[in-house]
Symmetry: C2
Subunit: 333 residues, 2 copies
């Protein structure tokens, strides 16, 4: 009998399709990504081609000169960096001028590597860049919400090979965030507790869906995972704003994120994936009802009409078995 | 300057990325689907193979014997048809037994055709089957919500070639429907009008995003279209329940749906797509705040981390230009 599980964070239902569930091994990728050169002369993100990108906004310098991570405006930005946010309306429909910030964070000088294969120290540098740019974006008073995300591989919507993430600052609060905030406020109002802290407690206590944890972070397949190997990484310290992460938390997160990605890389043979950092703004950093976290979505299945038409997901993997499988993988050094 | 447009129906924002917008022609599919035989001996949906599917639940009979459309239980159903809906909870999380109905509607005996190439009369038969199965699903007191959808092509999440749609009846109200209902009730409470009727009026009055219309239906690219060539087909008569569609409305909808699909087929060279029928239940058929409609999503772009992390979409096509392009296509006989 399938199970329909509630996701308290989204307020939605997920069908765990036990009858047609596949074994974890069946999600292993069949086609290998082609081998890549460490340097590609035509790649705008490779060292030596810095003049092919718009003016650099931030860098983690390399000890001997050059850079380890850099952030540059996206040449194909979704929003325009100049101008004021103007709101127009005819009483029914509203539109705003599309003002916002959009940068690409180049994660390493090495064209051919992926986060799962980077040294933990390099992943720390990437997270330091995220924190720096997130804070800087929120310093712009036009910005209402900032999202950090990574698209890895074609199924995850990227065509650029060189390892990179993106950060977008927009002048509106996205509807999905508004909905989650409303759920979180309702839960806090009803129960007097943070919905996210409670979810984390339940997962740590239950244990069957845990993948890995350290002093500051825990990674697990959530009870109502939307899709196979959908993973949440939660900070153990309650905080709503990613920009408030401390240096030692950066180190712990780097270690855990890299470990989880390495387990996916080995266990599922380098699947495409997206991850996003869900965070509120610095002004909301101390609120008691929200908790920032990372959502990681391996793109091993496709969403179709059912998902588009209902917003519900059919997950053909059992969260408990997916987690057990990832725990059993040797993630490499 | 990009525009951030509000979608009053979803309550969300869409970025219309004017700066990186592509011309309508650029969404034309580059790879042709391979030619198909009219009959495939191993296909469970081809005539003569009726015993390869679970027991037929409905058919539109062919005049000389045989069938024109048939509906059969999905062999790989997401939900189990037998049993009671039991609700379990530990005070924090809830799960239900995964009881529900799931059928495949085989749209034609011809293995190789697609809706855009079917005679309008055959599209009528398909819609008659939708209406019949929707009503029958809602006769089952365990069912809270029914969704009808079609996945066409690999990018739309199907692997089965033979033309088919699906219908799923579930024992819960999906979160996305709950959210739209809430928006609709709020608008009706505030303004005393149906949000959907108003949206339709605005589109008909403006005209720049219209694709086609007839006595009972209108097809348009909505003001805040989520993705390139995203299309809504609205009934002109206010009604919240698709099952209440009359025979003459079935004829009009068949003609318009086929015309829109033919315009996409010719204009974009047979793109993959999903469509869904959003409808409430028969008990809600007369409510004044909701309006059933069809949402059609050509799968010509991929969603990535930005969409997953915000629920917002970046549309790289101007809705007005997409509509103009589709109006200019000759859809064939």
């Amino acid at each position: 009998m399938p199970e329909i599980r509630s996701n308290p964070v989204t307020g939605d239902w997920v069908i765990i399709a036990t009858e047609r569930a596949r074994r974890p091994e069946e999600f292993t990728q069949k086609t290998q990504k082609p081998p890549l050169p460490a340097f590609a002369p035509e790649c705008p993100f490779c060292p030596g081609n810095e003049d092919k990108t718009p003016a650099e906004q931030f860098r983690v310098p390399a000890p001997g000169g050059g850079w380890l991570v850099r952030s540059v405006p996206n040449r194909y930005a979704a929003l325009a960096p100049e101008g004021e946010v103007e709101r127009h309306g005819d009483g029914f429909r509203t539109f705003l001028s599309g003002v916002g910030l959009h940068e690409v964070i180049v994660e390493t000088p090495a064209h051919h590597l992926t986060t799962a294969l980077l040294p933990v120290g390099q992943v720390e540098h990437i997270l330091v860049a995220y924190r720096h740019r997130l804070r800087a974006f929120y310093d712009d008073r036009r910005i209402a919400h900032v999202i950090v995300f990574k698209n890895y591989g074609e199924a995850a919507g990227t065509s650029l090979i060189h390892p990179h993430s993106q950060i977008v600052g927009m002048p509106v609060l996205p509807g999905q965030l508004r909905a989650r905030l409303e759920e979180a406020v309702r839960h806090w109002g009803d129960k007097g507790e943070c919905l996210y802290c409670r979810s984390l407690q339940e997962e740590l206590h239950d244990g069957t869906r845990m993948i890995a944890e350290n002093a500051s972070f825990a990674a697990f397949v959530p009870y109502a995972a939307l899709s196979p190997f959908h993973i949440w990484i939660f900070p153990k310290r309650h905080c709503a704003y990613f920009g408030d992460i401390s240096d030692s938390e950066v180190s712990d997160l780097a270690a855990l994120l890299r470990e989880v990605l390495a387990r996916l890389y080995v266990g599922l043979q380098d699947p495409d994936y997206n991850y996003v950092i869900r965070s509120l703004s610095p002004q909301e950093g101390a609120v008691r009802y929200f908790h920032w976290y990372i959502s990681l979505i391996p793109r091993v299945t496709k969403s179709a009409g059912f998902e588009l038409g209902t917003g519900m997901f059919i997950n053909t993997a059992l969260p408990e078995r997916s987690a057990e499988f990832l725990r059993g993988v040797t993630p490499g050094a």
